[in-house]
C-alpha cells in the first residue's frame, strides 16, 4: 500500500462548497492524495502561513496583492502548456490582467466584472425604452433623472442610478474616457491629473450633486435595497447572481457601461486567485488539484447559486453561461477588461479609503474635483 500524500490548501474564502466538492471528486480519482483545507482571515494571515515552517501547498486568496509578491508562487504557465489546448482556451482578457512579466502566479478565481443592470419594470412604468449598447453617459443621466422619484420632502423612494462610493467603481468610467488613474508602470502623476480622468470624474460627481440621481452617503431614503428601489444599477456578477438565485432574473436586463466622450471600450475586473506556493514539496500534484478545482468543473458555474465567471471559453460554454440572457453579456465583457490601479500600485491600493474619503468630500461638501484628484498623485 503506497503512502498518502497530503496537499494543504489554504483559503481566505468562507464558502467551501466548491472546494469540498472538488476535493471529493479529486480524491476519488487520486486515492493516495488527501487535500487538507485550512482558512485564513485575510491576506496577512495567508502570508504568515506562507512564511511559517508549515507553508501550505496552495493558497487561495480573495485579492491579488499576494500574487504580486516575487517568489511566493510558482509560475503556472509551464503547467498550463502541458495541457493540450488549455492556453488557447483561457480567456485572453483575464490573462491580460493575471499574467505579469510573462508569468502566471495563480489561476484566477472569484472573477467578476460590473455592467449596467436595469429594472425593466421601472422602465416600463415610466414609459421609457430600455438602454442599448450605444447609450452615452449623458443618455444615462437623462434616463436616471426621469427614473428618480422623490416625495414632497425630497426623500427618494426610487433612485435612477445606484453605485457605491469607491474609487475602484469610478475607475472604469475613466478608462472609458480614455484616461487612467495609474500608469502601467505604477505612477499616478501624468494620469490621474489629466483631463480625461478629471472630465470623467466630474461627470460622476455631477450625478450626485447636479442630477441628484444617486443616493448620497447617508442620505435619507425610502428606496430600500439595491434590487428594490433603483432603476439602473452598477452591478457586479455577485449582484446579478443573487438576483438569479432569488428568481428575480426576469425583472432585470443588462447592458454595457455607458459610452463616455473619450469613446474607449474598457472595464475593470475583480478577481482573486489560487496558486501553488514556491514552498510546496509537491508542486505538480498541487497543480493537478488546482486544474481540477478551477478548470474541470463546469457544474460549479451551472449552479443557480453561482456568483462569478469562469476563466476559459469551454467552461463558459459547457456551463451554459454563453447562452444565458444575463450571464452571456458578462462573459462578453471579459474581452474589454483592463488592469486597474489597485493591481499595479500597492501604495495606491493601501490608500483606497483615504481616496474614498476625498470622494465623499466632493459629493457632500463640493470639494473641487480637479484639485482633489490632482492631489492623489501623492498616493502612488
Amino acid at each position: 500500500m503506497s503512502a498518502i500524500t497530503e496537499i494543504r490548501f489554504l483559503t481566505e474564502f468562507q464558502q467551501l462548497h466548491n472546494v469540498s466538492s472538488a476535493i471529493a471528486s479529486f480524491e476519488r480519482d487520486h486515492p493516495h492524495v488527501r487535500i487538507i483545507v485550512e482558512q485564513a482571515a485575510d491576506h496577512y494571515e495567508s502570508l504568515r502561513a506562507f512564511n511559517s515552517d508549515e507553508a501550505p501547498d496552495i493558497i487561495e486568496s480573495g485579492g491579488w496583492s499576494l500574487f504580486n509578491r516575487p517568489g511566493m508562487f510558482v509560475d503556472l504557465l509551464p503547467y498550463v502548456k502541458e495541457v493540450p489546448g488549455l492556453q488557447e482556451d483561457l480567456i485572453p482578457g483575464i490573462m491580460r490582467v493575471a499574467c505579469k512579466d510573462g508569468n502566471l502566479p495563480g489561476l484566477p478565481v472569484d472573477v467578476s466584472v460590473p455592467l449596467m443592470i436595469y429594472d425593466k419594470e421601472k422602465f416600463d412604468q415610466a414609459g421609457l425604452p430600455y438602454p442599448t449598447e450605444d447609450w452615452t453617459w449623458d443618455d444615462m443621466m437623462a434616463l436616471a433623472e426621469k427614473l428618480t422619484i422623490r416625495n414632497e420632502q425630497g426623500v427618494a423612494r426610487q433612485f435612477g442610478y445606484g453605485n457605491g462610493v469607491d474609487i475602484e467603481f469610478f475607475e472604469p468610467f475613466i478608462m472609458r474616457n480614455g484616461g487612467r488613474l495609474i500608469s502601467l508602470d505604477g505612477t499616478a502623476r501624468g494620469h490621474v491629473d489629466q483631463q480625461a480622468a478629471i472630465e470623467a470624474f466630474k461627470k460622476l460627481i455631477d450625478a450626485y450633486r447636479v442630477h441628484q440621481v444617486i443616493r448620497k452617503p447617508d442620505e435619507p431614503s425610502e428606496a430600500g435595497d439595491l434590487h428594490e428601489g433603483f432603476a439602473i444599477i452598477f452591478g457586479f456578477t455577485w449582484f446579478i447572481g443573487g438576483c438569479i438565485e432569488h428568481g428575480l432574473s426576469g425583472r432585470f436586463g443588462v447592458v454595457g457601461l455607458p459610452n463616455m466622450p473619450g469613446g474607449q471600450q474598457g472595464n475593470m475586473i475583480y478577481m482573486g486567485a489560487a496558486g501553488v506556493t514556491s514552498k510546496s514539496p509537491n508542486p505538480h500534484l498541487a497543480w493537478e488539484f488546482l486544474h481540477h478545482y478551477v478548470l474541470q468543473r463546469p457544474d460549479s458555474f451551472r449552479s443557480r447559486s453561482t456568483r462569478t465567471l469562469p476563466i476559459t471559453r469551454s467552461l463558459a460554454e459547457q456551463s451554459g453561461m454563453t447562452e444565458h440572457p444575463l450571464w452571456s453579456r458578462y462573459i462578453q465583457e471579459l474581452d474589454h477588461v483592463q488592469i486597474s490601479g489597485f493591481y499595479i500600485n500597492e501604495k495606491w491600493n493601501a490608500s483606497r479609503q483615504l481616496i474614498n474619503e476625498d470622494i465623499n468630500r466632493m459629493i457632500l461638501e463640493g470639494a473641487d474635483v480637479a484639485q482633489t484628484i490632482k492631489s492623489w498623485t501623492r498616493f502612488a
Partner: protein, 602 residues
C-alpha cells in the same frame, strides 16, 4: 572620481546604464515634485557615491560622514529648486563640494541658523508651499489668517496641509514638553510671541529662542525620518541601551482584550495600577461583542477606531498621550477594516525607534501593536520595555512568552501596521487627573458618573446592530446582542459554510473573559438602593453569560487547528450561545432599569 567620469562610465556601458539613468531621472523628477519616497530611493542608490566624493575631497572618513549627512539634508530641503532632473547627480555633487568646502573652512555662513524661510528664493510666490520643505510649510502655517483663508478653497492644499499637520504632530516627540507647548501655540494656534510669553510668564525674546530651537530640532527630525539617516551623534540619540523593569502581571490581573490588558500593565509600570475590571468597564470592552459577517473569524474583536478609543480611554484616565500610526504599502496588512484609513508610511527605522527610545528613557513602556505574536495569536497589543542600539533590538511582551521577546529595529520598521502609543503625563483638564482618594465625596461622585456613562454605553452598544462599519465594502460586522445571532448563524451554516475552527476558539475565549469582567465591574459601581440591586442582578446575569461562554471555550479551546466540526457539535455550541444571549439580554434589561432608578433617585 568626478561627476563627469561617472557620466562617461554610463555612456560606455551601453543599454543597461541607459535604463538606470532613465530610472534615476524619473526618481529625481518625482523627488523634485515632493515625493519623499523617490528621494529616499535616490539616496539609497547614491549614498556610497556621495561618501566617496566627500572622502576624496577631505581625505577624512569621519568628516566625510558628517558632510554626507549635511549634504543629504540640504539636498532634501532644496530638491524643489533643481531645474533639470537629468542633472541630479551633478547637482548633488555640487552640494557635497560646497558642504565639504564649508567644513574644511570650519565656518561659513551656515554655522548660524538662517532666518525664517530664508531657504526660499526671494522671487518665489509667497502663496506657494513646498510641502517637502518644513521651513516652507511652517512659514505657510504662520501666514496671516486672512491669507491662509484664501487657500481654504483649494482642497489639494487643504489635504496637504492636513497631512503635514499630522506629520509634524508625529515628529513632535523630539521636543521637550515646554518646547512642544510653545511650538504648538505659535504654529498651530497662531498666537503671537507676546501672547505666548505672557501665557508662559517668559520674555518674548526667550519665546523666539524656543521657537527657533524647536523648528531646528523638528526639521532635523523630519529629514532624518524621511531619509532613514543614522541618529545624530551625541545627545539623546547616542548609541545606548535601556531596559525597564515591568511590574509583575499576575494571571488574575489580565484581560483577553490585549489592548486593555497592556494599558493596565503600562499604567502599573508608571505607578498607577488599576483594576482590570475597572479598565474593561470604563473602556466599554467588557460589554462589546462583534462578529464578522463572513464566518467565525475573530477579527471582529479588533474592529474599532483604534486612535479614538485609545486616546479617549487614556484621557478619561487623566493622561495625555502621543501615538505613531500608519500602514506600510508593500505588504498585506492585517485587520484592514481597522487600519484602512491609516496613512501609508515608509519602513524606516528612524521614523519609529526615536519614539521608543524617548519614552523608554523617560521610564515609560510603549504600547505597540505586534503583528508577529506567537501562535495561535496572529497579532496582539504588547508593551515595548527596552531597547538596545548596539543589538538594534527592542524588548517587548508577548501573550505566550512570560519572559518577553526581542524584535529587531528592522522588524519594528517593517511591521505592516504601525501603531505605538506612549503616555506623556497627566492631562491638565481631566478630573481623573486628581488623586484617586477613595471614600471622598468627590471621588464617589466621579466614580458614579463614570459608571453611569459605562452602563449607558453598554445599553446603547447592545442594541446597535452595526456598531463599527469599515469603509471597505466587503468587510462587515454585527455588534451587540445581534452578534450572538450572527455567531449562531455561522455555527448553523452547514457543510458548505462551516465555522472557522480557530476563530471560534478565540471568540469564545475572549468573550467569556469580557463578560466575566463586565460582571466584576458592575459589582463595584457606587450606586445605592434599588439602582444598586438591579445592577447586581445585571452583574449576576453577565456572570451566567460568562459561564456559558466559558463552557463553549472549554469545548473549543483556542488553538491553531483546521479540524472540521460536526453538525452535532455546531448545534450544541449554538445552543450554548443561545443561553449566553438570553443571560446577556437579561443583564441589559436590568441595566436599563438600574439607570432609570438611578436617575429617579438623583
Amino acid at each position: 572620481m568626478g561627476i563627469h567620469e561617472l557620466d562617461g562610465d554610463a555612456m560606455q556601458t551601453g543599454r543597461r546604464e541607459s535604463v538606470d539613468e532613465q530610472h534615476g531621472r524619473m526618481l529625481a523628477e518625482r523627488a523634485r515634485q515632493g515625493d519623499t519616497e523617490a528621494f529616499g530611493e535616490l539616496i539609497e542608490q547614491h549614498r556610497h557615491r556621495v561618501k566617496g566624493w566627500a572622502q576624496q575631497i577631505t581625505g577624512d572618513p569621519h568628516m566625510a560622514d558628517d558632510i554626507v549627512q549635511d549634504a543629504l539634508i540640504r539636498a532634501f530641503l532644496h530638491i524643489g529648486t533643481l531645474q533639470d532632473s537629468s542633472r541630479f547627480l551633478s547637482w548633488l555633487h555640487r552640494i557635497v563640494q560646497n558642504q565639504a568646502n564649508m567644513r574644511m573652512r570650519r565656518g561659513g555662513p551656515y554655522r548660524k541658523e538662517r532666518p525664517f524661510a530664508a531657504f526660499r528664493p526671494a522671487e518665489s510666490d509667497s502663496s506657494h508651499v513646498e510641502w517637502s520643505d518644513l521651513d516652507s510649510v511652517l512659514f505657510h502655517l504662520t501666514r496671516s489668517a486672512s491669507k491662509a483663508a484664501s487657500g481654504d478653497d483649494d482642497p489639494a492644499e487643504h489635504l496637504m496641509r492636513k497631512e503635514m499637520y499630522e506629520t509634524i504632530h508625529a515628529l513632535l516627540h523630539c521636543l521637550s514638553k515646554k518646547e512642544r507647548g510653545i511650538f504648538e501655540a505659535y504654529f498651530f494656534r497662531q498666537l503671537s510671541p507676546d501672547e505666548i510669553a505672557s501665557m508662559y510668564q517668559m520674555t518674548t525674546g526667550s519665546i523666539y529662542t524656543y521657537i527657533h530651537r524647536s523648528r531646528q530640532k523638528l526639521r532635523n527630525e523630519q529629514v532624518r525620518a524621511s531619509l532613514g539617516l543614522l541618529p545624530e551623534k551625541g545627545g539623546i540619540a547616542m548609541v545606548k541601551r535601556k531596559q525597564l523593569e515591568l511590574p509583575g502581571w499576575p494571571l488574575h490581573a489580565s484581560a483577553s482584550i490585549s489592548l486593555i490588558d497592556r494599558i493596565g500593565h503600562m499604567l502599573a509600570a508608571i505607578g498607577d495600577p488599576r483594576e482590570t475590571a475597572e479598565l474593561m468597564g470604563l473602556s466599554g470592552f467588557a460589554f462589546r461583542m462583534q462578529i464578522s459577517d463572513k464566518t467565525t473569524f475573530a477579527d471582529g474583536v479588533y474592529m474599532f477606531d483604534w486612535r479614538t478609543s485609545v486616546q479617549q480611554l487614556l484621557q478619561q484616565l487623566g493622561y495625555d498621550s502621543t501615538m505613531l500610526c500608519g500602514q506600510l504599502s508593500d505588504t498585506p496588512v492585517p485587520l484592514l477594516g481597522a487600519v484602512e484609513r491609516f496613512p501609508v508610511v515608509l519602513p524606516i527605522e528612524e521614523a519609529v525607534i526615536p519614539f521608543i527610545r524617548k519614552y523608554i528613557d523617560l521610564g515609560k513602556p510603549v504600547l505597540y501593536f505586534d503583528t508577529s505574536a506567537s501562535r495561535p495569536y496572529v497579532h496582539e497589543w504588547s508593551l515595548i520595555y527596552g531597547y538596545d542600539d548596539e543589538e538594534k533590538a527592542v524588548h517587548l511582551t508577548d501573550v505566550l512568552k512570560p519572559s518577553g521577546k526581542i524584535l529587531t529595529y528592522e522588524d519594528i520598521a517593517n511591521n505592516p501596521v504601525r501603531f505605538l502609543v506612549a503616555i506623556d503625563g497627566k492631562g491638565p483638564s481631566s478630573a481623573s487627573a486628581a488623586p484617586r482618594l477613595t471614600g471622598t465625596v468627590h471621588m464617589r461622585k466621579r466614580r458614579s458618573d463614570e459608571a453611569v456613562q459605562a452602563i449607558r454605553f453598554a445599553i446603547a452598544y447592545s442594541k446597535n446592530r452595526w456598531g463599527y462599519r469599515p469603509m471597505t465594502t466587503y468587510l462587515s460586522y454585527t455588534t451587540g446582542l445581534a452578534a450572538y445571532d450572527r455567531w449562531m448563524e455561522h455555527l448553523r451554516g452547514g457543510p458548505d459554510k462551516p465555522p472557522n475552527r480557530y476563530g471560534l476558539g478565540q471568540l469564545a475565549a475572549v468573550y467569556a473573559n469580557t463578560r466575566g469582567h463586565a460582571a466584576q465591574y458592575l459589582r463595584t459601581v457606587p450606586f445605592e438602593g434599588e439602582a444598586m440591586r438591579l445592577t447586581l442582578l445585571a452583574s449576576e446575569a453577565y456572570e451566567q453569560a460568562a459561564e456559558a461562554l466559558a463552557e463553549l471555550s472549554a469545548a473549543v479551546p483556542f488553538v491553531r487547528a483546521a479540524a472540521v466540526l460536526s453538525a452535532e457539535q455546531c448545534e450544541a455550541y449554538a445552543q450554548i450561545l443561545e443561553q449566553a444571549q438570553t443571560f446577556e439580554a437579561a443583564a441589559i434589561e436590568y441595566l436599563e432599569k438600574a439607570i432609570h432608578h438611578f436617575e429617579k433617585e438623583q
